[in-house]
Each structure stands twice: as C-alpha cells, then as structure tokens.
Symmetry: C3
Subunit: 344 residues, 3 copies
C-alpha cells in the first residue's frame, strides 16, 4: 500500500522539498532504496552516498540538505533529527501494512474465569492466563505465552510468542516483551547453614512502567520482600539478567547480555554496552554510561562514561602483557629501588 | 492467615522474648515492617534502623539483642543465625498462604501411556510428557513444560511454567527448575574435517542430585558419551550455561550469567560471582570462590578467593591505562635498561 | 541393535585390522568401553590408556596404531582423522537406534491453511505454524515450537521442543535448532528524542544457510531494514546473542555465551571462545580466532589468534596488580623522570 509524501509529512511534520504527490511504499537503506522508497541520512560519512541515492525521498537535516541537494535528484524531507524522523516514518509504514488484528481469545487459550480480558485484546493460541490477571485494551498476547495469577498488563502492551510473565508482575502501557523472556522468576536468595543453602522464598513482585521494551530471553527476577522495579521508558535488549530488588531508572537502555546483580539501584538516562555487569547493592547515578564488557564493582556517583576491559591483542602480545600484569608489583618495586638509588 | 509467635517458635526453634500470643501475618523488610510483620537483623550496619523498627517481632542474634533492646519495642526471636531463621520463617509463611494444590493431570496435558505419574503430582495445562518418563510424588509441573523420553523427577520437584527437560535427564528430590531453563540440550561437539564441522551425536544424559535449584533460562547440556553431573544441593541462578560432561560438586552456588565450558570438574562448596567463566577440561578444588566477571583459564588446586577483571575507571583514565597495558613490554624493557645503567 | 565391524567400515571407510564379524552396539569412552563398544584415540596423552582399553574396536591413526598395537587386544580401525571418524561412527549408531519417525501433523498442532507442510515432515504436539510458512521434506518440528508467517525451513531441518522461529526467517537444509532458541526477535533499534527512546521497527528478516546448528536459548535478531545473515555451516552454541544485521561467515563456530553487536561482519572459518564479545559495526577477517572472555573492540583485518582478558590471580594478588593498573600512568611518569635524570 503506497502513501503520498504529502500525507506522511502531514502526519509527522518536517519540511517537504519536492512534490507531495510522490508515492512511496516504505523505508529502505541508502544503498538499495529505489524511487518507491524513503531513506534517511543521519551519519555524515554517508553524505556522498546519499547524494547518489535513487530513493524517491530522503530524510535529512537542513545542513545536509545544503550539501547534498546538488547531486541528489529525489524529494527531501528536512527535519531537525533525521534519525528520529526515520523511526517515526518506519512506524507509520509498519502500522499501515500490518495484517488486521482480530480481537478475541483463541479457542485453545486457557483463561481463568476470574481473569479480566479487555474486549479489544487479542489472545493467541495456547496462551494460559491465570486467576485475577488483568489484560488491558488493545493488548496482543503471542502464542504460547503464560500470564500468572494477579498479573496486570496496561493498554496496548504486546507479548511476542512464548513470553513467561509470572504471578504478581505488572507492566504499564505500550510495553513490548519479546519471545523467551521470563518476568518474575524467583530471585537467587539462599541463606547458608553449615555449607548447605536454605531457600529464601521470594515474595515480592515485578513492577514495570510504561513504554518499556524487554528483549528475547531476558530474565527479570521478582523481589525477595519488596518489588523489583523497572521505570518508564527503559529499553532492555536480549539475554539481559536483572536480579531481585533492582531498580532500573527511567529511560535507561541496556544492550544485549548485560547482567545486574541483586538490589543494584541504577539511575535514569543511563546506557550500558553489551555484556556490561553491575555488582549487587551498588548505586549508579543518572546519566552514567558504561562501556561494553565492563564490570561495575563499586557505586558511581558522578555522570560520565566508565570503562574497564582488557584491551584485545594478538595472542602472543597478550601473553607478554598479561605475564607482566600478573607481576606488576615486582615492576613497581624495581622502580622504587631505582628511585632510591638515584635520589641521593 | 495470621500465626501466633509462639506457634512459629515451636516449629522453628529460637528463644522468644515477648508474648507468644502476638499475631503476625508474614515477613517484611526492616523499614516497612508493621506490628503484623516479622523482620530480621543480620547486617550490623542496620542495627540502628532495627532499633526503630515498628515490626511486631524481630529475629536477631544474642549480641545484637543486647544492643538493640534499649530502643526496639516489639518481641524478639533470638537465634544463632538470624538470616537462616528468616529463610525458614519465610518458608513457613509461604507454605501456610499457598493456594491449595489439586493433584492430577490437566485435560490439555499430553502424557504418553508408558509414562508414570505419581497420584499426588500436579501436571498443569499444555504439559507434554513422553514415553517412559517417571514423575515422583508431589511433583508440580508448570504449564507448557516438556518432559522427554525416559526423564525422571524425584519426589517434591517443582517445574515453573515453560521448562524444557529433555530425554534421559534425571533430577532428584525437592528440585526446583525455573521458567525457560533447558536441561539436556545437545553438547557443542563437532569434529573439523577440512574446515567443515561434523556433528558428534551427544548420547549421554544429565544427572542432577537432590535439592538442586536451576534458574530461569539456564541451559545444561547432555554429555557426549558420559553424563553431565550436577551434585546435591547445587544452586544455579538465571542464564547460566553448563556445557557437556561438566561435574558441578555438591553445594556449589553460581550467580547469574556464569558459563562453564565442556568437561570442567568443579569442586564442592564453591561459589562463582555473576558472569564468571570457566574454560573447558579444568579442575577446580573444593571451597574455591571466583569473583564476578573473572575468567578461570587454568585449573585451581587450592581453596581461596580468585579474581581477574580489569578495574573500572572513567573512560579517559581507562584509555590511558589500557594504552600502557598494551605496551607493558616496552615499559619493562626501559626499566631493565635503567637498571643496567645504574648497577655499575 | 548390533552392527558388524565390516559393515561399519564399508559405510565409513578406514582400514580394519581385525575380524569384520565382531559385533558392536555403539560408542563408549576409552575408560568404560567394553567388548561391545567402539572407542577412539585422538589425544596423544591417552595413548597408554588406549593400549589397556577393553573396547571391541579402537579408531586411531596409523602412527598411533604402531605405538598401541603391542598392548591393545581388540580390533583397530585405522584412519587419517580418528576424531572425524568417531563423529561419523557415532552418527551411524544414532541413526540405527533412533525411534521410528512417523510423518504427519499432531492433532493438537495448529497449522494455518496457507502453510505448506511436506508429506514426510513430523509436526509434534502443540506446534503452531502460521500463514505462508513452508516446511521442507523430512523436517522434524519439536513440541510447542512456533513458526511464524512466511518462515521457510529447508529439507531435513530439526527443531527441538520449544523453538521460536518468527515471521520471515529462513533456514536451509539439515539445520538444527535447539530448545529455547529465538530466531527473528526484533533488533535493538531506538532513536533518542530528548532523552526518550523511539522504537525503530525492525522489518528485515533472518537468512540462515545450510548445515547450521543453533544452540539452546540462543537469540538471533531480525535486521532493521536488510536481513541478518548466518552463512552455511555456522555452528552456534547455547546462549549466544547475534544482533540485527550481523553477517556470520560460513563455517564459523562460536562457543557458549558469545555476543555479537549490531551490523558486525564476521569472516569465514573463524572461532570464538566462550563469552567472547564483538562490538557493533566491526569487520573481522576470515580465519580469526578469538579467545574466551575477550572483547573485540576494533576491526580485525589479519587472520590469527586474538586475546584480551585480565589474568586470574588469588584475590589478594589481583587487588595489588589492579591497583597498579589503575595508576599505570603514574608509573610511566616516574620511569620517564628517571630516564631524564640518568641520560645526561
């Protein structure tokens, strides 16, 4: 289904330079876009490539428009933040082209009589919904998902197939949870009695705000006594582990394979690179950015970028540097000896 | 449902200082506990806070009781290990408040005629149990779980929803497996023939002892020829990967995101911090403790705490230290040159 | 079911030294193999043990045969690559002993009327197959798996139970996907608008070649606009995360817990040790080998082995070396000062 450029700009704003009657069918990357596609320029390195693009329309900044318009032949949509505009335009096309949703509960779904399902919700095949769960308007629950006793889903929340959302977990509006994610698993709590581990029942829940995305096979444990908390706008990629009683501040984003140990309190507007790890009971300020592969072993009270990973090298070079790292104290001692000898 | 303090102490021991007729309904954290709650003090830093708690009863050590009793108004339960007592008291309340279990097989479960299901077991909706599987008394199998051919579950074992427990895997009594865990996936075994990888069938099973907990989305591979072995009392958190033919010794505990490569033999009473990694074919002694984020690249024959992660720093500082680490050999060389010059 | 050695060698090649009429039932490890078993010797350290093995037959190289034949009593199969021969022999026995497959769709599976299922395919209980999916000859789809709209599976592909294979994902012939894996989850793409994250719809698919193995709970994201690509013969272990728009070159193998960030292009015939991580938008040459626990933070243009992890030490020793690493600049400064003083 094609769209007039004029119609798109009416919906999303931006300044259209070119004919509003050009018809486009969706987004495409710079290098493969044809006359029926819109593409975008947000990386200065791709400016020359953009100038040669065959796309029907190009989303770009005013500054880039001045530089690219000499060679680029198609229409332009000029906007302050081309990447955000691209995101919204892509959402526009996905919504237009999505297959029709038919509200209702599939015949093979098993819904407890005390659960409340909004009339506009879609409950797919083999879904199980337990007692007292509450599924909001326009929710879309993918095949084979499990929703536990007393769970609550805000309006417009989407579960992909095979989500496990256990008892006493809540998520706000417009949430997205991807396949294989487990929300509300028991926190890892044991007391040690003469070597053996005694289970500590985990009786808190999980409280997730609005506009939260949770990736595939990510796990979020329920709290021990209080809740685990994920605030509004948090974005979690795949295979992330959030332990019991963590608080993840609003609009914080974490890339794949990040782990956060129990009771860590993470600020708002933070970012974590892939496989970053945070130890338990730490506190991290707002606007902290942790690089990939870095272990946060103490609280961070000041905004900024933090890093800690061993630099990669050819294996033979690493062998040498690692051998010295193991023995740095010896090196420091020898340096001190030299300093003593030379000073007098 | 409320409990008399006297009844609790009769079940769990400890010395009650205060009225046995005080009624409590469950556990709560120090800061939010009210007169209907029990709380506990096991961290000396929280002593002042405990003194001011409004909890109906406080579990604590004899030494702490002497220090706290001046300000704290409620009843006390004095015990040698307050954290263990808290764990057991919490278990007591969870058991009392749990919804009634109704033994039997849900109408939508698919059970092979040769599988044996104990009369007291609960098999939830959409569970699949294959030929020759054996499910012990009081087992509780969560919705949508899969139990393969010849699998065996000891009495009192609990599977949360969506567990995958494949053919020829055994688990002992009182086990707990959380959602999304996969037990008995094929080990990663390939022989290389001129660049291409030839699959090695994995024909061993998984043998898991009694009182083992396995976290959400954790994976344990079956052995190549022999079994992968998890001994009694082992506790595995979420998203742990145990490769084929590992042996994890009794009462060892691993935090989230730990990985253990093939054929590693890990001792008893070990602990592994989050995201620690163990290379293949290594041997680790009993009572070894590996810090979070540390890679074990050689066998460890002596008990103790081991660590190996790059310290976190502000990114600019890390850039400097990492540049020097890359080039430590140069630094050592310069130090040697100085030593030569000075010696004579 | 037992096999004559002569029959095995007719199928798989190799030089049989001993009677072709010896009957064997399967493979076993050196230390436990009995007269009914075949075992193999591919590690020189185990030569003495092989010499004493009670196995009915031993697969080994010509050189090892010369060294072992003095003590070893059973039949020998001499071959250039005993480990590859072992893999193929194990496959031979697994195939012979596998329970009979009965082609067809289980009564509880839900198959969309527009999906095409080959007559020789097996579709197990509770499987869901959506519109326009295409399942090739001799495919075997494990219980509870989900196959999305427009997905395609080449002939002979095997899904273990509980695989999630989402819309517009393709896999070639003879693929294997293990339980809990999620193929086609949305890539982690967001544009930042004044602190809040705007979702970028992920409209690409996943294209997986022939002879690809994917481990338990591994996740492969769909591309943002283009596809994510996994080439022929790639082997991925458990709990691997492949982000959107990656290209993994043919015959590359990755051990458990590896993560690859978005748009990384990885060459052919590479290997990645467990928990290795690759940052986004990097390019890695063919025949690159990355050690376990190493973070690849820049492109690698030259074949070879690369490493970067902090060496493990007793915690007290690590504390000292880490303190110096944090302050290496000071050490370099002091070295320079000494050099200045000594030079003149």
């Amino acid at each position: 289904m094609s769209t007039r450029l004029g119609q798109l700009v009416e919906s999303l704003g931006g300044q259209l330079i070119g004919s509003p009657d050009i018809l486009v069918t969706g987004m495409a990357p710079l290098e493969t876009a044809g006359p029926q596609h819109i593409t975008f320029l947000s990386n200065a390195k791709l400016r020359a490539q953009a100038g040669l693009s065959a796309a029907g329309a190009l989303i770009l900044s005013e500054a880039d428009h001045a530089l690219v318009s000499a060679t680029y032949q198609g229409a332009c949509i000029v906007t302050a933040n081309p990447y955000v505009y691209f995101a919204k335009a892509a959402q526009y096309f996905v919504k237009r082209n999505a297959p029709a949703r038919i509200a209702g509960v599939h015949a093979t779904a098993i819904v407890h009589p005390t659960a409340r399902i909004a009339a506009t919700a879609v409950i797919a095949a083999h879904v199980i919904i337990e007692a007292d769960a509450d599924i909001g308007e326009h929710c879309d629950i993918g095949a084979g998902s499990f929703i536990g006793r007393g769970a609550r889903l805000g309006a417009g929340t989407l579960f992909h197939p095979h989500v496990t959302f256990l008892a006493d977990c809540h998520i706000g509006e417009r949430g997205v949870i991807q396949s294989g994610a487990v929300i509300g698993s028991d926190g890892f709590g044991f007391a040690n009695e003469q070597g053996a581990w005694i289970r500590i029942p985990q009786t808190g829940g999980v409280r997730i705000g609005h506009d939260v995305d949770i990736g595939a096979n990510t796990t979020i444990d329920r709290g021990a006594l209080d809740h685990t908390v994920i605030e509004d706008g948090v974005k979690l990629d795949n295979q992330i582990q959030i332990a019991h009683n963590c608080v993840i501040g609003a609009h914080t984003a974490m890339a794949g394979c990040v782990g956060v140990a129990g009771s860590a309190k993470i600020g708002k507007y933070c970012t974590f690179g892939g496989a970053a790890m945070v130890l338990g009971h730490l506190s991290i300020a707002d606007h902290v950015h942790v690089s990939s592969g870095s272990l946060v072993s103490r609280s961070i009270h000041e905004a900024g970028q933090y890093t800690g990973f061993y630099p990669l090298a050819k294996n033979a070079d690493w062998e040498k540097s690692a051998a010295i790292v193991r023995n740095l104290e010896d090196m420091r001692h020898r340096l001190r000896e030299l300093e003593k000898k030379i000073k007098p």
